[in-house]
Amino acid sequence: MTLKEKIESGRFVVCGEIGPPQSCDGDVLRYKSKFFKGNVDAVNITDNQTAIVRLSSIASAKILLEAGVEPIMQMTCRDRNRLAIQSDLLGAAALGIRNVLCLTGDHQKFGDHPEAKGVFDLDSIQLIAAVARMTRGYLLSGTEMKQAPDFFIGAAANPFAEPFEMRLIRLQKKVDVGAQFIQTQPVFDLDLFARWMERIVKMGLHEKTAILAGVMPVKSVKTLLWMKKEVPGVKINERYIERMKNARDPETEGVAMAVELIESLRKIPGVRGIHLMPVLWESITPTIVKAAGLKRRSR
């Protein structure tokens, strides 16, 4: 079953995330994919995240596909204009990649080439609309294709950043133009997220799209404090920071925290799955998935 079929069948899905290496070593991806195979339904492949040059997301997605893991290819607007985006998407479709996550992309200032020209020809909403249009058989130019790619279109949402109301409008737009699933920023403030979900349910968006809540297991309090300080738009409840600070074994505590979070998120109406982001800690995935009782029965 593909991710699309699983979501449509109403199953509670789990997505993972792999960041490709800063080299041409494909074995890194094959090695990391082992932690996800059989544990999650699909794995995000980041596209030069935080604007640092990495192995391309298309090639990485293909490697994962060969390793038997369903990839969700991320596609950002920072590095490509509308020609490159469409040609890359066609290439991805030809390679058998079915899931695309449409993002605007981090600004180049944060990466290893801050002097680069950011493209931002489209924004994420226009990208979703463009991909949706391609699945209907047309390029942006209006040219009809002989064979239309079949994409399952995803988008991101940030429930925790200002201006909150405007973000709901944006999410509505994303769903309107064709986003079929939504992955959120990592949740570190359950109350805020629950309130956001209430609004989503009230707007009826949870029926038109599948909301997958972001969960990020952390190894130490240092990671949390770094995120709080450096990553804009991430809200971290003081409770979690206190808890990690006082933990005797931070790694076990981090796993326990993630598992508790997953259990609470499952109970929130409208949440259709989890997006697990074990950044630099991929090896913990099987432990968390098993402890949360989300182990996949079959591939």
Binding site: F110, D123, R133, G233
Partner: protein, 144 residues
């Protein structure tokens, strides 16, 4: 739905280019100091509460990226306010939130640095929305 993503560019005669440059002079005098106009030639000021959204480092036309700080600061230039943060709160003040809900077209780079006023007159781009009807205000308020 939403097939009309792109504005198409009809060829512009050299004579019209000259007219465009002439009008643009007056447009710049008004729009740059008042609204922070970036001369995209495809103005959507009327639906962004009269703040030019093209001041955004990512040139977002459909709303803020995920990086707005708690105090509304831009993640790229922390000394500045996120332009979409300003747009949202001013739209609320002016009862124009419903105008933010429409999906804005992909920018036509052919129109960069041309006169919006002429482009509207020549029907290359959508005309501005001056007034929001009472019932639409409520709809926008409910969604936002």
């Amino acid at each position: 739905m939403f097939e009309n993503l792109v504005t198409y560019h009809r060829s512009v005669s050299p004579a019209e280019r000259r007219v465009s440059r002439f009008i643009l002079f007056f447009e710049d005098v008004v729009k740059i100091p008042l609204f922070g106009c970036q001369r995209c030639g495809e103005c959507i000021l009327s639906s962004t509460a009269f703040i030019c959204c093209q001041q955004c480092p990512k040139r977002m036309r459909n709303g803020p990226c995920g990086g707005t700080g708690d105090d509304g600061s831009c993640e790229v230039y922390p000394d500045r306010k996120c332009v979409w943060y300003r747009i949202y709160y001013r739209s609320k003040l002016l009862n124009r939130v419903s105008l933010l809900t429409s999906v804005k077209k992909i920018h036509n780079w052919n129109l960069e640095g041309t006169s919006t006023w002429l482009n509207v007159f020549r029907k290359r781009i959508d005309p501005p929305v001056w007034f929001v009807r009472e019932e639409e205000r409520e709809q926008g308020g409910e969604q936002g």
